[in-house]
Symmetry: D2
Subunit: 364 residues, 4 copies
């Protein structure tokens, strides 16, 4: 316990009753890939523009085809709209995701946006000439406690690299990609992911969640109902910046209103680890389906949505809780600007406490 590859489930924490996919990751949804670029450089005193640098970018690609021409139905939900994420309005209006989804720090959104535009232009020579301009989604969290966020160290080439290196299979978690400098409950957190396999009235589907975890005050932290945050009070007070991003992918055939149902649920999972979506945290959610659009039974679905949607809703809540715990457990202690420290969550004590309380089997 304490190493790099310990995830919540390996620690005995079972969240919900549904089975996970093979990698317990968003990439379990066939076709979805994830790419991280991590920027970690320098130590000590903050010199804005120079460092230290503790940030990165994560790219999520809904499928391996041309995203701009093979658009996916999608929905967004700004549960807590105190954020500067880009591209929500278009998705709200049209219900379409048409590009790589990018996540980075709050002040690097312009670089990520430029990189995303650049990437689409490169792969679609008609855009802006004979075709319409693209909508790029850039989500953000504030990593300014550890990172020289004013320095805006992320460059377009980093965005390109994140997109170009996106792969399926195992997804690195913790201090990687957009998660490098992020914190949750004043512990080090970052990237986290989880998935569920769902059977409903139309078939068997995969749903995956990817999260950049960056919210909450220490006192909020709760796991399996145990208020660990109050057991381990934070020594140093000053918290600036948060925001939490959740991306939901599925291969289930869903309409926009149905995807919006899913996009509304991640905060219910975060609530189970103590999140109250504090003021000042842009807790933003997005969901897309890469099913090839219209299911032959789509009409029957409308009168059967309880059986159809509820298992997917359950999957979103459970996978969101687990992705957050994965982000916490997979992250390592980090020292950032001005020697600010975000400690690793005390895994051993927490697991010991939960084991003593008999909370580590699936049914407790």
């Amino acid at each position: 316990v304490g190493g790099v590859f310990i995830r919540a489930r390996e620690l005995g924490l079972y969240l919900g009753a549904l089975p996970t996919g093979k990698f317990n990751a968003i990439t379990d949804v066939p076709g979805v890939t994830v790419g991280h670029v991590s920027l970690i450089q320098g130590h000590g005193k903050l010199i804005p523009g120079q460092g230290p640098v503790r940030t990165g970018v994560t790219a999520i690609l809904p499928h391996s085809g041309n995203l701009y021409t093979q658009k996916c139905p999608a929905a967004v939900f700004p549960y807590n709209g105190f954020g500067k994420s880009i591209g929500m309005m278009y998705v709200e209006e049209l219900g379409i995701c048409e590009n790589p989804i990018l996540i980075t720090n709050t002040l690097s959104i312009a670089a990520a946006l430029e990189g995303g535009i650049d990437w689409v232009l490169k792969h679609n020579p008609g855009v802006g000439i004979s075709e319409r301009t693209p909508n790029i989604m850039v989500f953000e969290c504030d990593d300014g406690y550890l990172n020289d966020i004013r320095g805006r160290h992320l460059k377009q080439r980093d965005v390109w690299q994140a997109i170009a290196t996106a792969t399926g299979g195992h997804v690195p978690e913790g201090n990687v990609g957009a998660g490098v400098g992020m914190s949750t409950f004043a512990y080090k957190a970052g990237a986290g992911t989880s998935s569920r396999i769902v059977k409903n009235s139309l078939g068997t589907w995969t749903l995956g969640v990817f999260m950049v975890c960056n919210f909450g005050e220490r006192e909020d932290l709760t796991i399996k109902g145990v208020p660990f945050g109050r057991m381990f009070p934070e020594k140093e007070a000053p918290l600036i910046g948060n925001s939490n991003i959740t991306i939901i992918a599925t291969d289930a055939p869903l309409t926009c209103p149905e995807l919006k149902q899913l996009a509304k649920r991640p905060e219910l999972g975060l609530s189970r680890v103590g999140g109250i979506s504090r003021w000042g945290s842009g807790d933003i959610d997005m969901a897309f389906s890469n099913y090839p659009w219209t299911h032959p039974n789509a009409k029957s679905q409308i009168t059967d949505s309880a059986k159809f949607l509820n298992p997917l809703i359950e999957a979103v809540v459970d996978a969101s809780e687990e992705a957050c715990l994965n982000a916490l457990f997979q992250a390592e202690t980090m020292v950032g600007v001005d020697n600010h420290v975000r400690e690793k969550i005390p895994v051993k004590q927490i697991i010991a406490h939960l084991r003593n309380a008999n909370r580590l089997s699936p049914f407790v």
Copy 2:
């Protein structure tokens, strides 16, 4: 344990760190009153139109003055819009609550609406002649598992009585008012309330929550992180109807966007007892402030909202969790139509389990 007046807190369940008001009820907010009318009649086989009757209506009055002329700033949030509540659009557009807030069953909304209109007309003789028409808010949940809901037994006089008898102080919970026929996690539930005292950058304020609890499947039930729902599986399957209504009152001086922040948070409290806001449940939230409008320090508030709003957000989440548990613990087993039974939640076992697990002190 097992009687009528046992509330969560008396059982040793402490939710959150903030103190409650005197009555631990929405009526702790000065000026707010609550009135219940309960309709319970008949037994045995369902004969639509005749009974058995297991329903009621609850009225909440924001202050004791003329509500139509002394309007309150307000906000609504349909977290899960699968519901038939009335009057949301106007509040969303104008940010004003101007009448008694009514809650009843889904098919009695017309009677409640008519009663509410009638009441306003009576007290405002110029309405519809020289003054504009009123917006009545009627919220609803489906009590059809126990109640002859098709019979629409609620009458206008019941609505009047609920409004006319609304009082401050102690608020009955469980099988009363709109809560008479409601269930949660396939246990008997109904009305629940709780309050918190909050200190923030502008002063000391009271925030109260009133809830009609009617959601969830048995397997969802979780208290203090313990999955009781899976310990006590439901014997009979068929669940039709749910929806959950949460009304938030405060005397803190809040603008519409700020009240909307509060209206977005009750489901985070419900998530802590296992709620996932299933498809088909209209989980609707409303918040109002009866502070006499503009606080002299309103301008400073805008740059200080973290200190100002976060304690109120915390209060909403904690009080929502507690109101739901109060609804469950205060409700009694009820037999309804076709001898459908909603059992009382097994308080003794649950408390015993929590005590054994050392979860009954404020800090665990």
Copy 3:
């Protein structure tokens, strides 16, 4: 000129370039039917509760099957949410219309709602027992200047009759149904309808608009750019109450986001007759498609929406303008409560002026 059956187009007013359907009415959309019940009784002094009565109800049925089991995709848009219409939230969340659409006066919404619920219960014996409860849409405008609106003279039987007598073909306009007591620009107005035939990338479709016109001050009235309102100033000032309802029907296969596009456009047509959507007017729009759900080419539609949607958008704007003018031209002078008079719009002078100005051919 001046009689009952003169419509804008017969007067030489051509709105837009698209052809109309056979009846130039919402009923040109195959399957759509409209039923009016008009309540006109008494004269002279207003005695609230007794009269005079100048009101009614209109029912629109999307198709002739069981609306509750064969739901239609739908969207609502509260352009100006100062209104008390019922049932919007559910449509916004689920994108479904599942019942007759009802329109009446602001204080009779409870009666209309009760009638609508009653009708659905009658035709669906499982509702509230083994099936979920229905969402009824009731739209409203304020006819209190002419009608004893406080008297709430509309009864459930009137609602039933409107539904039961709904037919296709010719749709009565002006002082009928929900339009009986309504006014626009301080002239008598009421019900109006119009339709367009549209060819787009997927085929040929019909789009129809039905409107209850009840908005604006005299000074706003403009036809073909001529500010008639300022030419014919209103003698008596007091205007209380307005709100304008627009229902859009089409047989084109549209998703919810696409229907919302349509629901956003009627006010653009109303603007052309001078409407500025004044504060206090609930200008509410709804659109539904009765196409049997998923078109085989739905996937291609997503990349071709300009060609697909723009003709339908044009149809909405033009038909909305024409429906409003039809409501004005088809209405007759009415004397209501306290001998309040709403004069018929001076058709002869307007047409003469437009003819002199050479504005009566299709291309000017």
Copy 4:
């Protein structure tokens, strides 16, 4: 007629009955300033990345103080959300504008965003260290018919210059700033502005509109009800790209819901010149008030909003129509990429036609 400084009003076109401010510009609102940077370079064949360049940026500053610390109440309304504008979510959630408002072309939004962030960081050294990160609003239209939009020629220094040179008084219109490459009804258009002086129940106020006009097909164009678009059909068909941005400023003391009322109305003005808000056009509106927050009579305002808001609503509609006509009349013919031509609107013929039709006095 035909020169650079002819505005609609100088041509005899009076829109509405309210008086204008001194400059008939958004800068009539005390404190509001506007800065344009225009980029025009090269001729002939489009070589993406090289040119020809026909674009620019416009900055609008709500007041002359530190915008980040002295935030303004604000509202946004995406009437037609097919656009890539940035920063809407935060304003929707918090109701605050806190930075210069920027407008540019669709593919230069990243540069504008970076420039905006840079400007705020420079003037607020604590941002990202001890203070929260800023929300930058960047609005966009597509100028790709004339401009090498793929070349993204706008640089951060251009954004800085637009902000730094923003001034009150006369506001250049037509082919300037963000308006350089924009077209409306397939005529050259661009920047336009107008203002109104409004008296309401609380005092006398100024309301100004600034617009980047870039929408519509030729056939839509209508002025004073005359369908000029059909008189002057477009020779060449291909139109790619549009979107229309409207910024509303006022010194009236308005709450967020009231500002949203204003933000909803510009399209009613655009409808009067023939706009139907076609699919693919991001028609986005924003309104802010720079009144020093809470008016002493704010409480009375709530029961008097008709008298208070209606004159402001009228001002928005009339000023939006006039700003659009100013954009059209002030623009000059422009030759852009691949020798694409956007002709100047034929002012002489239009004015002659309107004069013959007796439509050039204020009351016709």
